[in-house]
Amino acid sequence: MNSVFEILRDNWLLLLVGQYPNGPLGGIACTLILSVLGIVLAFPLSVLLALARLSHWRLLNWPAGALVYIVRGVPLLMVILWVYFLVPLLIGRNVTGFVTMLCTLVIYEGAYLAEVVRAGIEALPKGQMEAARSLGHSHLGAMRLVILPQALFNMLPSMLSQFVSTIKETTLGYVINVPELTFAANQINNQLLTKPFQVFFILAVIYYVLCWSLTRAATALERRIEAKRAGPRATVAEIRAAGLVQPVAAEP
């Protein structure tokens, strides 16, 4: 147990920000920035993909569907390898591991989020779209003003848990030398060599605390959204006050 605290004390800066300022930003900071950027950029892509999948035009529907199925059927590691290979070809120069990882996350999360958004839209009562169209809105207008705002609000807990998934996915950046948290931990391990269990134990705990708190937040958020949707309900005191329950004999 002591060795765990020692390692933490000696290496907390490396775990937190990597080699910065003597190198690129790494560690937890890199992980978080990568995850946040990843999901923020994936979000508009996912909305577009979801709308394409819901559209009746085969020209939109099929390619979007194909993209989603392919990305979901291929391991993240393969997607990383593809992006690592294709991006320099497409833009004519080399890119850092960070950028590669970011592009990968945007594509991968975009496909998964697209399904979340699609589910959210389909879960709304049909009457919403019908009402909007009857008022004269175009399909896209109705989507923008009526459907998406509601769907996205309802899907917030799911999106939060996709964010947690994104954080877990950043660990694969290790394979292409992105200096995120897992990479930093491996660096520490390669230096120390004698305490691998302690190092990886610390790594697991950090991720656990991070992901668990976010998951808790998502669950709490979900409960609040459910409560809002259920509407106000009378409390027991109010029911009794209204005289709807007969007072009974005291407990023997």
Binding site: M78, L81, E169, T182, F201
Partner: protein, 233 residues
């Protein structure tokens, strides 16, 4: 860049062999960890259903750990961390008998068991409460009710989630590459570095992964259709 020539890989004996080995390793890991995960998931479920509060806390902690720590980190903890704590004899034996693959199967299996267990639990919870009552009213024991009435329905309810998580498990086999297992992704990288035919190699691997993923999904859909409760809407 040379012209697209997939045959250069497929026909080359050495590359073909590497890829085939990779596929074999991937399938072994995927199957091994799936079996481990399913068995453990049932055990976890049974333990969780006992009235003991400690049992519930232990299972909840297990599931929480495996769902919140990234799979890659779990594998690293097993392969680099826990292996170093093993007695010398075990370490030696594992070193000679493909230790990386063993740890990969254990790590992946234990991780997915958490997800499968939650799927089964959701399946159980989505059964109408009257079912358990009816079984009890007829005099079935707890085990009997589970066996004949509740688990058949729970598994049917949980099937879509179980299939999805099975596909995830299969894809996660690629993570084993990070701890040195010579599965498909690893093989593809080797072939690519030797043949310089990056695009063709990647394409082959992608197609192979896709085919198996789609197979699992179709098998799941077929199973769901066959086992579907007759007449249910």
């Amino acid at each position: 860049m040379k012209g697209f020539d997939i045959m250069a890989i497929l026909l080359n004996a050495e590359f073909g062999k590497m890829l085939l080995e990779g596929v074999r390793m991937t399938l072994i890991i995927a199957l091994g960890s799936w079996l481990l995960a399913m068995t453990l998931a049932v055990v976890l479920l049974v333990v969780r259903l006992t009235p003991s509060r400690i049992a519930e806390r232990v299972v909840t902690a297990y599931i929480s750990y495996h769902q919140n720590v990234p799979t890659l980190v779990q594998l690293m903890l097993w392969y680099f961390g826990i292996s170093s704590l093993m007695p010398e004899a075990v370490q030696g034996w594992l070193g000679e008998h493909n230790g990386e693959a063993v740890y990969a199967v254990i790590g992946l299996g234990l991780c997915q068991a958490a997800y499968f267990s939650e799927d089964l639990r959701s399946g159980l919870r989505s059964i109408a409460p009257g079912q358990a009552e009816a079984a009890r009213a007829l005099g079935h024991s707890y085990v009997g009710a589970m066996r004949h009435v509740l688990m058949p329905q729970a598994v049917r309810n949980a099937l879509p989630a179980l299939v999805n998580h099975s596909v995830s498990l299969f894809k996660n086999s690629s993570l084993a590459m990070a701890i040195g297992v010579a599965e498909l992704t690893h093989a593809v990288k080797e072939v690519e570095s030797l043949s310089f035919r990056t695009f063709e190699a990647y394409l082959l691997a992608t197609v192979m992964y896709l085919v198996v993923s789609l197979l699992i999904m179709f098998a799941g859909a077929w199973l769901a259709r066959r086992a579907a409760i007759v007449g249910a809407r």
